[in-house]
Each structure stands twice: as C-alpha cells, then as structure tokens.
Point group: C2
Chain length 414, copies 2
Amino acid sequence: MTLHVDVDRLMNRIDELGRIGAVLGPNGERGCARLALTDADRAGRDLVVAWMRDLGLVVEIDEIGNVFATRPGTEPDLAPVMTGSHIDTVPTGGRFDGNLGVLAGLEAVETLLAAGVETRRGVTVAFFTDEEGARFPPDMLGSLVYVGGLPLEEALDIAAVDDGARVGDELQRIGYAGARPVGALFPHAFVELHIEQGPILEDEGVTIGVVEGVQGISWTELILTGRSAHAGTTPMRLRRDPLLAASRIVDGVRAIADEIGGDQVATVGRFEPHPNLVNVVAQSVTLTIDLRNTDETVLQEAERRFADLVGAVCAGEGVTAERRTLARFEPVEFDPSMVDRVEAAARALGHSTRRMASGAGHDAQMLARVCPTAMIFTPSIDGLSHNIAEDTHPADVAAGADTLLHVLLACANS
Amino acid sequence: MTLHVDVDRLMNRIDELGRIGAVLGPNGERGCARLALTDADRAGRDLVVAWMRDLGLVVEIDEIGNVFATRPGTEPDLAPVMTGSHIDTVPTGGRFDGNLGVLAGLEAVETLLAAGVETRRGVTVAFFTDEEGARFPPDMLGSLVYVGGLPLEEALDIAAVDDGARVGDELQRIGYAGARPVGALFPHAFVELHIEQGPILEDEGVTIGVVEGVQGISWTELILTGRSAHAGTTPMRLRRDPLLAASRIVDGVRAIADEIGGDQVATVGRFEPHPNLVNVVAQSVTLTIDLRNTDETVLQEAERRFADLVGAVCAGEGVTAERRTLARFEPVEFDPSMVDRVEAAARALGHSTRRMASGAGHDAQMLARVCPTAMIFTPSIDGLSHNIAEDTHPADVAAGADTLLHVLLACANS
C-alpha cells in the first residue's frame, strides 16, 4: 500500500502558523507578515520548533539561526537526507511561500513515524533564516551562509532596512543564535517543496512541477537624463525627453523577450520620472530592467541586445544613460538524478508533471552548491505569491507533500 | 526722437521685487517663491503699490485683489488702455515670469511721465491675483473673476492646496480685499509683455515674439490596469502589463505630434506605476497626456488619434483603461489689429519679430474675452521658466519694454 501524508493535519498546521502575523484582506484573504527575526518570526519559529520536539526530533540551531530537526536513520554513519525551506515572509505575503515546504517536510516525517517506517539515512527538516531578504538583504541569507557563500561575521553584521537592527543582535534577542557551526554537516541530498509562485502549472492543468534549475538573473538600473522643459512652450523638435526614451526602451525590452523566446522573461517594473508633472517634459527617468533565462549564454545575448537598444534609443532622442548592475546571478542547474527521482515519484503517485525552471530564488539553489538537490512545485492559484491572496488547493498540497515524502523515502534508503 | 524706457531702472525694480521671497540656487541663480496671498505676496504687492503711488498713479483694488494703477489721459471719458500681468510665482519660480510685465508697464508710464508725454486715454498698469494657481487653483484666477468667468463668491471660497486657507480670508488678512467691484470697468485694449517661457525665440535668434493667441489645451489622465505578476515566474505569454501598454502610448503620443506637425505639441509628463518594484509586473499605471494646438479642429483631431491609440494598445496587451479629462480649454485668438500693432511697434524700433502662439496660459487670454488684446514675448535664456534659473538678457528686456511702451502710446492715442 502506498504511503500518503495526512493533508488535513498539514493544512491545519499551515493555518495555525499563518495566524502568527496574520494580515487579513477585504475579501477574506488570509495573508501573513512575519519578517525575519522580528517578534512574529520568533513566535512562528517557537511554534514550529515545538511541533518538531513533539515528534521527538533532534533539534539543532546553527550560528545564523537556521533550524534543523532530524529523525535519525538506522545507519547513523550515513549523512541524512534533508528537506526544508523558510518560514519568514514578505510584508504582505501569504501562508504558503516557504511555510509549505517546512510543514510538508514535518508532515512527511510524521507520516513515516506514524506508519513505523524506518529509513537507512536520517531525515532532516530545516528552515533557513531570512530567505525573503525583505528585512535583511540579500535574500536566501541563512542558506547562503550555511553553504559557505558569505562569511558568518559579515552576515551577523547586516543591518535591517526598517530599524537598522543587526542580524547578530536580533538572533540573540529572539533566542535563535544557535551553537551549531554553520556548514558543520551537509546532507546526502536536498529536496525542497515550494509553491510555484507563477501561473504555468495552473494554466496547463499540471499538478507537479519538476524543477530542473533556477533562472539566471540580470538586474540593471538605468538613469536617463534629457532636458526638462515646459510642455506647452517647447516645440517637439527642441525636446530631449527621457520619458519618451524610457518608454521606447520598455517596448524594446519586450521585443527582446519575444525575439529570444523560450524561457526568456524581461520586465521593466520600476519607472520613475522627475519631476513627474503633467505639464513638464521630464528631466530624468530612473527605470529597472529584469532579464532572466535558464541558459547563461542566452541571458548574455539578452544583455547584449539590451545594451544595443539603450544606445540606439538614447542617441535617437539626445538623452544620456547611466547604468548600474543591481544584481547578477548565473542560472543554477539541479542534479539530474535528483530531478529524475522527483519526476518518478510524482508519476508513480499518478500526478501529472511538467519539467520547468524556477523563476524565483530559493534556498535549494544554495544547497545545490553542496549536495545533489532538486525542487518540487505545486500550483499557485492565479499564479499569485508575495500577495495576501496567495493560495494553493488542498488537493495540490497533498500531491506535493506526497511527492516530497516519496522522494525523501527513496533518498533516505539509497 | 524715439522714446525709450530706462532699462537700468526697470532691471533694478525687477531685482528689488525679486529679493522678496528670494530663492538662491547653488550656482548663483536668483529664483523667487512668492505664492499668491502669502506674507511674501503681501510684501511684494506693498512694494509695487508704493512704486505706483510714488508715480502719482490712481491705485484701485478690486474685490478679488487685482490692483489697477492709472495715469489719467487728457480725455477722461475714454476707457483707458491697460497693460499688466501678475507678481505671484510658483514655489521655485524666477524673477521675470509675470513680474516683468507689471514692472515694464510701470516703467512705460514713468517714461511717459518723465518725458511729459500726455495721452488721450489713460494708461492703467494692473497686476492680477493668483495667476499661477500654485496655491489656489485654477490658474489665472484674478483675471478670470475680473472678466466674469467665475463668480466672485465661488472664487473667494477656494481653499489653498497647502494650508486650506480661503481666498477671501487671505485677501482680508493681507489687506488686499478691495472695494472696486470686479468687472466694473473694462479697458479699451489690453497688451501684456511676458517672457516666452520657451526656447523658440532664442533658438531662432529673434528678439520679439508677436503673440497671435494661446494654444488650446487638452489634459487627460489615464489609469491602465493589467495584472500584477512576478517578473521571474510569469511567462511573457501570460502577461497583461500596464507599464508596457503605457510605454507604447507614450511612443504613440509622440508619433501623433510628429504626424500632425506644425504647432502641435504632445507630452506625457506623469507616469506612475504601482507597485513600482524591480521584480514585479505592475498592476496599474497612471499617466497624463498634455495635447496643445492653436487650432481647435486640429486639437480635436489629435484627441481622436489619441483615443484610437489607447484603444489599440490596450486591446493588444489585454489592459483596461480609465480616462479622466483634467483640463480642456479651446485656443484663444488675439485681436488681429492689436497683433499688427505689436508687430509694427517692434519693427519700428528695429527689432526682429516672429509671430507665434503662447504655449502657456496668461492673464491676457482672459482679458481677450472683454477687449482687443495682444501679447509681446521676450526671449527666455535656455527656454527656462518656472525654474530659479529663469533669466532674460537686459537688452531683450529693454526691447520688450520699449515695444510695450509704443503699443500703449499708440492705443492710448487712438
């Protein structure tokens, strides 16, 4: 008989954790605001750690506040298999982002315990500090430090964007400055269940996203400067309008995405003219360009086309451009055998699957630096995330958690 | 011998008035902030009224605070000829906008007095309340009420955008709630000297702008609504991006101006995406479109093309549009014989001239409703106005004031 998680128990935990820092919407939406290392985050951590202890798991906290709860295996010399995600949220977040992965991991372990199923390797359920980066940039901070991507001392010294408090002080304050050295032990393998945070699975009617990797990201800030002028008294031929140039760049950025096709996405999300008045030709416009692709070569091609576009548009309107790189990450490829294992587990459970890349960053991309890693996506209703209306159907939650359970089982016995 | 103004005396008065509410720039710019009916406006009014009284002029203040200073003519039964403008400024204004017209009028009268030149009609120098509308919308308030375009009681009840104070109360407070009924007496003719506030005269090396009228204005606010989405997880085919649609409208608005040509100007000056974040496809964008033309038929054609543009762009991106008219004024045509008189006076003085439309609004367009009216423009350095760097060369000030003097002389003896 195939093992299944108890989806009601899992949904109840998602709801209970979501009540800490709850943000209620006008139409009954149940969102969540638990920014990293705040009092709300402490309350959420305390609740999840209590659940972990109730199951008899061995709970360890490391120096950056990451929490690891392990059910030991029958062969203690073998490295455990790990799952996990994060429980911090953005200021107007949902109940599922991150939380689903942590609580589904806990549910998988409870299912094994309840069924008396033992595994050769231990199974560890982790939650990582400050994945969102909303209070302490950069995002994925806890997992980055865990895998050695940022020195601990630097991370502890990061100041909060809201109140300037330091990571190290806040960890002490909320009681999560642990003793376990960061990077003390890496798992045999890592798998993370997460909501898709996008519309693809819902749009295609697919239940399980088999995540092959994470898109590379290129963020550029552009400041275009022209000549401010009176909208009534300045003839068109004497204008150097940075708002017009910025608009042509927005249109050209869409054309780049369309021409490259495939997974390429390209977005202008910020657009700020100065002085931003109805009857004044702007002096300058600040805009940001977000380019993403799973293929580093193609991403570089998109960047080249973007640079050409900016040059041509600015020359045409007599506008100057200053550029600044805000972020640049190469694509991450997950371990092919782990990806195959996710696909096989989902299909064995009878779920439809689709291979895809993650458009957003996740703790799993950090873990991929130190062990074979993969991710499982479940559909997001209307593709919404970082939004109080973020939601996933319980049947999809069950499918995702069952898939996680069986991937963990397979890894823990390998 | 041809009569000339004393440009040093005029420049000294411009400087002295400009010291009240002075705003100094980092590079020595001498700007001005005297918003209507503030303490600074009172101080400016008191200074100009003192100058008027020093010249022995008959000073009257009407119920909306417009000030009229008259040098009587030799035939008291004839209506006087009037010149004037305003002395209020925007928060970061210059010393010339409005002030030049009032002080050049005073200088013309002083020149007549000094030369012992009498005129059949009286000559009145006026300044009108709250031309800028920066503190009490709408702009040109005092002249609008004077010509009967807005009932006095309504105007007195307008609240300040900064502190909510009412026009009527502020007039009382600063001592400029006058007794002369608004619209009690209209002049025989009106001529206003003003800086161009645009780059055309400087660009073409012309000294005097002969203003034939004021452009019609059509201001529209557009709110485009699409679907907010994650920039990384949302494929291009599933996007409904209002920032892209807004950008295409900006580009299309420029194309409308280019296609219509002539005097047509078209500007998008405000552009505000929500939520305006680097990694989020916007939910909505608010933008404004400013269309101006001297020909009402052509302006309507521009509005039709704009409506078609919005429809086509929004349909293409699956975005909805809400439209609101923020302002709509038909073009104003000045009196052809007055315009001829301005041109003849400038040419007789040996100045280069160019017929043109005013792209900005002026008190003269209100006066044009009640008497033959025209305007004289002098060049603005770099086309700047509503800017602390606003400036005009003294030689151009002299040319403008001399032209004004001779137009007033001709009208006052007709």
